[in-house]
């Protein structure tokens, strides 16, 4: 009796894994992106998206809102003000979700390492699956990164979103440390 329950659970687990594998194939070949144009990197996105480099051939396309998107592109430096909104957007996305950090600014602060307004390390606040180095990354590098991301998803390696769920306290503590409040409630500017 006990065994049967265990067995069913095991088969269930197996089925789930098989389904996940199939789903990963679809996820890898159809990546919708929310392109948060936080900074300079946004400038190389139009060439990547449009006729010359045409990322739609990878099955990628821009989406209007984070709810619809699979990958969040952080295209450059993040000021504290933007970081709050990026975290908010990231949390609105549906699992599985991936993050690509563009340029040195997201990696280590880049040229703005000593700025009072910009953060220096994106993976401190949200999990980053992939960084693209460079200031700013060329369209070729971006396409290359998308290729890598696709491979990662196929292999089931892009698990940043899980990491975020599991280590939410750590991320949240970092967010609070740097930003004081993530969801700002006051009306600052009016």
């Amino acid at each position: 009796m006990f065994n049967i329950v265990e067995d069913t659970q095991k088969t269930r687990e197996d089925t789930r894994k098989t389904w996940e594998k199939i789903a990963d194939y679809f996820r890898a070949n159809s990546i919708w992106m929310k392109w948060y144009c936080t900074g300079c990197g946004a400038m190389e996105m139009p060439p990547t998206m449009t006729s010359r480099f045409d990322m739609e051939q990878l099955g990628m396309g821009p989406m209007a809102t984070p709810r619809q998107a699979d990958v969040l592109l952080i295209t450059g430096y993040l000021s504290a003000k933007t970081l709050r909104r990026v975290i908010y957007s990231y949390e609105q996305m549906q699992d599985p979700k991936y993050v690509i950090g563009f340029g040195s600014c997201t990696l280590n602060g880049g040229i703005y390492f000593d700025s009072y307004a910009t953060m220096t390390r994106l993976d401190h606040y949200i999990p980053v699956d992939l960084y693209i180095a460079g200031c700013m990354p060329r369209p070729e590098a971006i396409m290359n990164a998308f290729d890598t991301l696709i491979a990662m998803i196929k292999k089931g390696e892009a698990k940043g979103w899980k990491h975020y769920q599991d280590n939410y306290e750590w991320y949240n503590a970092n967010q609070i440390h740097s930003l004081k409040e993530v969801r700002v409630k006051d009306e600052f500017h009016e």
């Binding site: 929310k34 948060y36 144009c37 936080t38 900074g39 300079c40 946004a42 400038m43 190389e44 139009p46 060439p47 998206m49 449009t50 006729s51 010359r52 821009p62 209007a64 984070p66 430096y77 000021s79 003000k81 933007t82 909104r85 957007s89 040229i111 703005y112 000593d114 700025s115 009072y116 307004a117 910009t118 200031c135 700013m136 060329r138 500017h189 009016e190």
Partner: protein
């Protein structure tokens, strides 16, 4: 509730750049609008005070990603004025070519970019791909696609590569042949007419009230008010070009002017390639010893040029040390992007909000700095 508060940006498909406008909307009319800048604030003015005069060359183009070259130019011009440095003749012409190529690239971007708010994406696809050809040229001249760091105090970083002139001429000829196609696709579309003609007006008194410059100003005040004409820098006084101006500024006029200016830029580049001295020094020697430790004489100067969106200027203050004492940036779209949004976006419809931001030429990074 009579009003609903909607957010246009920072992450709205209708907003170019990381910028936000809070709109109080009744039905579809915007009753009140509040700009929300600062998403791209990096504290440039502070960072520049912390770097050497030469070190800043890497920093300044990054102020405005859409059109970085004017930054390099105003910075170089300002230092040249403070240090009384004579720029070699050939460098002037090369600078002019680079600046006009940059202007052309930017106009191409916005000619296609107008497709986004009105839904004509094909135009964006075409023009962005064509703009990439210009970036290829930049890459050949300067080694970078977007941030060139090419115009330096005393001239340009290095001479033009061999045979680039022909290539430039070929590319601009191609782009010139494509412009009418865009014009047919976008500007001749009756639906585009319906949306833009007599819409999003910019009267002359608003221009003066806000301090709008560039295409917006020229299309409203009916005068050829352009820094290139009023106080020519580089060698703009030695080339012939006619800028469009009109007494009535609606969205359509402002977009149309971009086409004409793009054509004028092409003409300027042709003349420059023809008239420039074929050889000679391109960079004046500005210091002896370590260039990084170079000191600029004390003083305060305002240098400005005409970017594709209007008057772009730096107020440079030097106390005679190795680093700038203070640099203040006048972003060309600062007036319309902040006060303009607050005062003149209300009254428009939400359908037009994105078009408003686009045709007024609001560019977030140069506002936020």
């Amino acid at each position: 509730m009579k009003e609903v508060k909607l957010f246009l940006g920072p992450q709205h498909p209708g907003m170019h750049g990381n910028y936000s406008v809070h709109m109080y909307v009744d039905g579809d009319i915007i009753n009140k609008a509040r700009p929300m800048p600062g998403m791209l604030h990096r504290g440039f003015e502070k960072l520049m005070e912390r770097r050497y005069w030469m070190g800043n060359l890497a920093l300044i183009p990054r102020i405005c990603v859409v059109e970085p070259d004017p930054n390099e130019m105003v910075y170089a011009m300002g230092i040249e004025k403070l240090g009384k440095i004579e720029v070699p003749e050939r460098a002037h012409w090369i600078r002019m070519i680079v600046l006009e190529l940059a202007r052309l690239a930017n106009h191409l971007m916005s000619i296609g970019g107008i497709g986004a708010p009105v839904g004509l994406y094909t135009a964006s696809y075409w023009s962005t791909a064509d703009r990439d050809l210009l970036l290829d040229i930049f890459e050949k001249i300067t080694g970078a696609r977007v941030y060139h760091m090419y115009i330096v105090p005393g001239g340009v970083r290095k001479d033009l590569p061999e045979g680039i002139e022909e290539e430039i001429l070929k590319t601009i000829a191609y782009i010139e042949s494509r412009l009418p196609e865009y014009y047919d696709l976008v500007m001749k579309s009756p639906i585009f007419h319906d949306r833009t003609v007599d819409n999003i007006l910019l009267p002359e008194e608003v221009v003066w009230e806000l301090g709008v410059t560039g295409i917006g100003m020229r299309s409203a005040v009916n005068k050829e008010y352009d820094i290139r004409k009023v106080k020519p820098y580089a060698r703009y006084d030695q080339v012939e070009f006619n800028l469009p101006y009109a007494p009535y500024s609606d969205a359509f006029t402002r977009v149309r002017f971009k086409y004409i200016e793009a054509e004028q830029s092409i003409s300027i580049i042709r003349q420059a390639i023809e008239k420039m001295p074929k050889e000679g020094s391109v960079r004046a020697k500005i210091s002896t010893g370590n260039a990084l430790r170079w000191k600029v004489p004390a003083g305060m100067v305002y240098s400005c040029i005409e970017s594709s969106r209007g008057e772009y200027g730096y107020l440079i203050v030097s106390d005679g040390s190795e680093m700038p004492y203070r640099i203040a940036v006048r972003g060309a779209s600062y007036p319309q992007g902040l006060l303009g949004v607050e005062k003149y976006l209300p009254g428009h419809r939400i359908d037009d909000a994105s078009l408003w931001m686009d045709t007024m030429g609001v560019c977030a990074p140069e506002i936020d700095r």
